[in-house]
């Protein structure tokens, strides 16, 4: 029964978040601030993960290509497919759920337990709209940029790994990447990361905003936010794949 109540509370929270901001000049300022916190500050971890994971995907694929009937450009094709379809949108979103989600939940949770949210409410500010709306918009705008950046770096990482290991030539790898490339896959990946960005921010905000108690509870809320948003991403990934790729 408690999770049904939680669902109801979450959807009611969404209704309050998606209202027109009280002052657009303040909203714009907060939006740029959130783009920096949520997006720009995530570039190093995304870059590191993408470059190494791209390298590992290409090396593992190359090392398992023992069948002489398989063309050599298959390594590039598989690296491209797995990066665009799954690694960049889903795995990077799961990493961001850990980094951004815990950050959002602990920031809002700390504001709740130190009565800063009460202070906003008493001033007449819609605290959910003021705190969460810029974060949601920042994530929706910047997550696709991060994911495209991740795709590029992952494919580059794969290329560097293959060249350094002498497992493929640049021409073959690029041919493999371009072979059977579908633009629809990019749109599918971008749609997924926008949905995942929305999930990460709103679920983490929910746990932070409704936390009760002190700093210990803020820590717990932060962990719960990461776990719940990760589970929600996996479920949404399955549903979106069903809807977009198999429809």
């Amino acid at each position: 029964m408690k999770w049904i109540e939680g669902f109801g509370k979450y959807f009611l929270m969404l209704i309050i978040i998606f209202r027109a901001p009280e002052k657009y000049s303040i909203f714009r300022k907060r939006l740029f601030n959130e783009i920096e916190l949520i997006g720009v500050n995530s570039i190093p971890i995304v870059a590191l993960m993408s470059a190494f994971m791209g390298g590992v995907i290409s090396l593992q694929t190359a090392s398992n290509m023992s069948n002489p009937l398989l063309p050599t450009y298959t390594v590039g094709f598989i690296t491209q497919s797995s990066t665009i379809l799954e690694f960049s949108p889903t795995i990077i979103s799961l990493i961001l759920a850990g980094k951004v989600g815990s950050n959002v939940a602990s920031e809002i949770g700390t504001m709740r337990v130190s009565q800063q949210i009460d202070a906003l409410e008493i001033m007449g500010v819609n605290s959910l709209n003021f705190l969460v709306f810029p974060k949601v918009i920042a994530a929706i705008l910047f997550f696709p940029i991060l994911i495209i950046f991740s795709m590029g770096l992952s494919l580059t990482g794969g290329w560097v790994a293959l060249i350094l290991s002498n497992l493929s030539s640049t021409e073959t790898y690029i041919y493999g990447i371009r072979y059977y490339f579908e633009m629809g896959n990019i749109w599918y990946a971008l749609t997924k990361c926008i949905v995942f960005g929305f999930i990460i921010i709103t679920i983490s905000s929910y746990y932070g905003y409704y936390v009760k108690g002190g700093s210990l509870e803020v820590g717990k809320a932060s962990t719960q936010a990461v776990v719940s948003s990760s589970v929600a991403i996996l479920i949404a990934n399955f549903l979106l794949t069903q809807m977009i790729l198999l429809s």
């Binding site: 002052k23 303040i26 009565q115 800063q116 009460d118 409410e121 008493i122 007449g124 819609n126």
Partner: protein
Amino acid sequence: MIEVKNVNKSFGGIQILSDVSSTFEKGKVNLIIGQSGQGKTVLAKCIVGLHEIDSGEILFNGSDFCKMNRAQRTLIRQEIGMLFQGSALFDSMTVEENIMFPLSMFQKMTKKEMVNRVNFCLERVNLSGRNNLFPAECSGGMQKRIGIARAIAMNPKYLFCDEPNSGLDPKTAILIDNLIQEITYEYEITTIVITHDLNSVMEIGDSILFIQNGCNWWSGNKNTILTTDNTEVSSFVYASEFMKEIKDSIRVNKRR
């Protein structure tokens, strides 16, 4: 003026406030006192709308706050200043940004006008020139004063202070009490202070409401509280050895 009529509030089946009624007058420091866990803060949070009441009426100058929609409540809330127990300053903002925040949200003022208003409020709480400090760089007493400066920035009609001198040394506590009293008289504000500090009671208690078990048990002022026959109030006031000695000296003076 704020009127509270037959307010009831419960949490999970436990009655916290039972039929509480009181009037908080304009231009006076109205204290809500009582032991810890008796419902003082819940009552204050109900008045400002942070908790929805189960039944009763809360009237701000005759308008029922509980029957208002969000937009109407926002208008009333812009007339409310509140000083929180832990000050509740925004950690990521400087002192100036904290005080300027309500002005930038709700007032059509130029940046220069807002800075002037911030400087005026800081001067009023004796913190001139501290504009660029962050809350973490300020002492507890300074944070309370910044909280008061933020609360008065919008020229409020109503001021709420939740345990304004908790965690402060007696000298700073009296400074904060006097500041609240001065501001109340100067701007004719309806001030409600939640406290269990007897120094505050004796210093600024123009009107006092004693809450016991979620009911309004006794009401009076700083003069009548010392001589009341009400057992619960008496045991609250004369709980310390120091106050017991004062009680004895009052008796001796009466006999003379």
